[in-house]
Symmetry: C2
Subunit: 112 residues, 2 copies
DNA sequence: GCTATATACATAACCACGCAAGGTAAACGG
DNA sequence: CCGTTTACCTTGCGTGGTTATGTATATAGC
């Protein structure tokens, strides 16, 4: 398994979190698992990285959190995507694809 | 035009520079233009960002520089990829594709 | 001849962000 | 009862882009 370079984590955390929340509410601990599963186990985020990101995203109005209590008695902070967050997600996708397209050009479109 | 987020610049600078040099020698100022052209004008790197990256890559033994003088009388520092750099490029490509694949999953493979 | 632009490199102060490590707290399984 | 999982949070450190500034030379326009 490859350790994801931290710069790549930094570049992908916002788009990935916003995209996950575009599919419905979620909370920190679950987002960690979703990333692990969606990536087929190739991406492993630390919680020490995730929570500050969530706070920043909320501070910037891209997501909105609410505290909830499960029947089991666990407290969770559920986040949902705001309209502003949806716009940011679209812009992030554009810039991501610009960079990705350039890299794929260099790597040769179909091969390797 | 979208300003590429700096985290995305940070994530892509090393793989992109290594991949460019995998196609043959180049130098700082030219790399800036290559990135602009390859991206269809969507990516615009600053030279204040590029030169420190080149120094780091050379310090880490991923690329090797040599000074040269053009007929016109300009000094240039040409860089080439080392074997170590080639290995790093391959690993960078792996982790990039892991992240990209996950994002595309979230975005829906073919659409938008 | 002069001057603006392009070429070509470099560095410094500032800010943002992940990582490792540590902390709190409660539920659950054996 | 005790380790593991769930679930949140924060701090110190190092890394890396941005902006601004500096140096030097060649070329093009007037």
């Amino acid at each position: 398994m490859f350790r994801t370079p931290k710069e790549l984590v930094a570049a992908s955390s916002r788009p990935m979190i916003l995209s996950i929340l575009a599919g419905g509410e979620s909370y920190g601990y679950e987002i960690l698992k979703q990333v692990r599963v969606l990536s087929g186990g190739r991406i492993e985020w630390s919680d020490g990285m995730l929570y500050p990101v969530l706070h920043r995203l909320e501070r910037d109005g891209l997501i909105k959190g609410r505290w909830a209590l499960t029947e089991a008695g666990r407290r969770r902070k559920y986040y949902r995507l705001t309209r502003k967050g949806k716009g940011q997600m679209a812009r992030d996708r554009e810039s991501w694809r610009a960079v990705h397209g350039t890299l794929e050009l260099l790597w040769g479109k179909g091969n390797v």
